[in-house]
């Protein structure tokens, strides 16, 4: 499903965030990406959605080399990938409901169908009662769950979560991991980054560890 081959990423200014990273993720697999702050976790996830491009090596998603994808093809790649951003990227000029609606509007879903899907996604993350609120009125954990709802509403094949449990207390973190597990169970491919080892107690999940841009 996802395949990195000798990927190097150097940011303008010369900093090398990823150095020769290679790995494969099978379809339907759930994977943790760990490493210290600044190790290159966000960079790695951005390469998958072609938000950043590699300087050398190849990033394949569904056998498509996304590192060289043309601008016009980007939207269709990204519709297949749900992303939970480290900085949330919620829109505070609209309601919780409308935030989750946006991906469906972008894909051109009709009104009634999208309403149903938005409520289903909000229900899954436990925010159905807050659909009319402004996201600014939500707590940190609720905002995080809103991000998840927006990422899954479109039922993407791949879900990327960048430090989704970032600065939440353990109860919240566990709730969120449970949501990911349920998503994993219905066959999605998940890549979840974290610098917080404490949420990784549950065994059986493969783990990639980055250290200063090198895969351990």
């Amino acid at each position: 499903m996802i395949s990195f081959k000798q990927v190097h990423k150097r940011y303008p200014g010369g900093y090398e965030a990823l150095k020769g990273v290679s790995f494969d993720v099978a379809e339907g697999e759930m994977l943790f990406l760990t490493g210290h702050s600044g190790a290159g976790k966000s960079t790695l996830l951005k390469l998958i959605a072609a938000i950043e491009r590699p300087n050398s090596g190849s990033v394949l998603v569904n056998n498509q080399n996304v590192g060289v994808l043309k601008g016009g093809a980007l939207p269709y790649l990204r519709r297949n990938i749900g992303i939970i951003f480290q900085d949330h990227k919620l829109l505070f000029d609209r309601s919780v409901f409308d935030n989750v609606l946006l991906p469906l509007q972008i894909c051109g879903f009709d009104h009634r169908e999208s309403g149903k899907r938005v409520r289903a996604a909000l229900d899954k993350v436990g925010l159905l009662k807050r659909e009319k609120s402004n996201p600014i009125a939500l707590s940190g954990g609720e905002q995080q769950r809103l991000c998840i709802a927006r990422a899954i509403v479109n039922r993407p094949a791949i879900l990327l979560a960048d430090e989704p449990t970032g600065n939440l207390d353990t109860d919240y973190a566990r709730e969120i991991m449970a949501i990911f597990n349920s998503f994993h169970q219905v066959g999605a491919t998940l890549l979840i980054s974290t610098h917080d080892e404490s949420v990784l107690q549950d065994g059986g999940v493969r783990r990639l560890t980055l250290k200063e841009g090198v895969l351990q």
């Binding site: 959605a49 938000i51 950043e52 601008g71 016009g72 980007l74 939207p75 269709y76 790649l77 990204r78 519709r79 992303i83 951003f85 990227k89 829109l91 000029d93 946006l102 991906p103 509007q105 972008i106 894909c107 051109g108 009709d110 009104h111 927006r150 479109n154």
Partner: protein, 302 residues
């Protein structure tokens, strides 16, 4: 098809909501566009009306040749033949001084005054119908005929119409220049409005790009906004022109009574009104398109 239509309708609804959310600013923009467009449209309308006047009054040009008071019958016969044979003349009539006086009585309603005259002050005259030609040729013919013996004066009846027509051509050029400049202003106003919108919606555009929006999807609301603003500006211009026309016609009514004539300004025709609206929609759309092309590419999500 209907689904695509519903989607576009949804975008349009969102755009209008946004436009009316900032009520005063939106209205001022529309007013500015309306005033800018109403100037050339109003001038065009005045020219159209003047053009109608010219067509109504000029008809085919005539040259009136007034004979000297002491011209004799044989002079008249000789001149009549000479004129009839002239290559640039299509026809000629002789109007005796008595006929001329009678016409004057009837056409002016001053019969009492004229009836009181001791003697007829009018000369005999020829009315010459020239063959079709331009203003210059007519003027040359007039000069030539004026030099004939026993002719005291030659008048080209529609000279003013030709002069007015030249003036109208000048005016039309003026309207064209004004319309071009103000169209640029309209494009600039829209360009700037859309630029501000793009800046304030930077976050939304960024997020939309990140979750798979095509450029078309992101562009669409801005283009619709530009077109809708242009349309409302066009409607505003139409209202300004039409309201001014009604006011002017009120004044013309009073004037017309003094001059015992009926003259009203005609409003913009249906075709001209539609052209005005289409043109303003197009300009708004173009301004938005230019702005979007310039500013959207600068927003790349990280």
């Amino acid at each position: 098809m209907t689904r695509a239509f519903a989607l576009h309708l949804g975008v349009l609804r969102a755009v209008l909501r946004r436009m009316f959310a900032s009520r005063l600013a939106g209205f001022l923009n529309i007013l500015a566009i309306g005033i800018a467009l109403s100037l050339p449209a109003g001038m065009y309308l005045l020219l159209q009306n003047a053009q109608g006047l010219v067509a109504q009054f000029s008809g085919t040009p005539q040259i009136s040749l007034f004979l000297e008071m002491n011209a004799k019958a044989e002079d008249v016969d000789r001149l009549h033949k000479q004129l009839a044979q002239h290559p640039a003349v299509a026809g000629v009539e002789f109007v005796t001084r008595a006929q001329a006086l009678e016409q004057l009585k009837q056409s002016t309603g001053l019969s009492d005054l004229i009836g009181g005259l001791q003697q007829n002050p009018l000369p005999d005259a020829f009315v010459v119908h020239p063959k079709p030609g331009d203003a210059q040729a007519l003027d040359m013919l007039r000069g030539e005929l004026a030099k004939l013996p026993r002719i005291s004066e030659a008048q080209l009846d529609s000279a003013w119409a030709y002069k007015l027509e030249a003036l109208l051509r000048f005016g039309r050029m003026g309207v064209l220049i004004l319309a071009s400049l103000l169209s640029l202003a309209l494009i600039a106003v829209t360009f700037n409005t859309i630029r501000l919108q793009i800046l304030t919606q930077r976050d939304e555009i960024e997020v939309a790009k990140l979750i798979g929006a095509t450029d078309g999807f992101i562009r669409r609301p801005f283009l619709y906004f530009g077109a809708a603003q242009g349309l409302l500006g066009g409607i505003m211009a139409w209202l300004i022109v039409t309201a001014s026309l009604l006011l002017l016609n009120g004044q013309l009514g009073a004037l017309a009574q003094l001059y015992a004539s009926r003259f009203v300004l005609h409003p913009l025709s249906l075709g001209d009104s539609l052209s005005l609206l289409l043109f303003s929609v197009y300009l708004g759309w173009l301004g938005a398109w230019l702005s979007v092309a310039r500013h959207l590419s600068q927003i790349e999500p990280r």
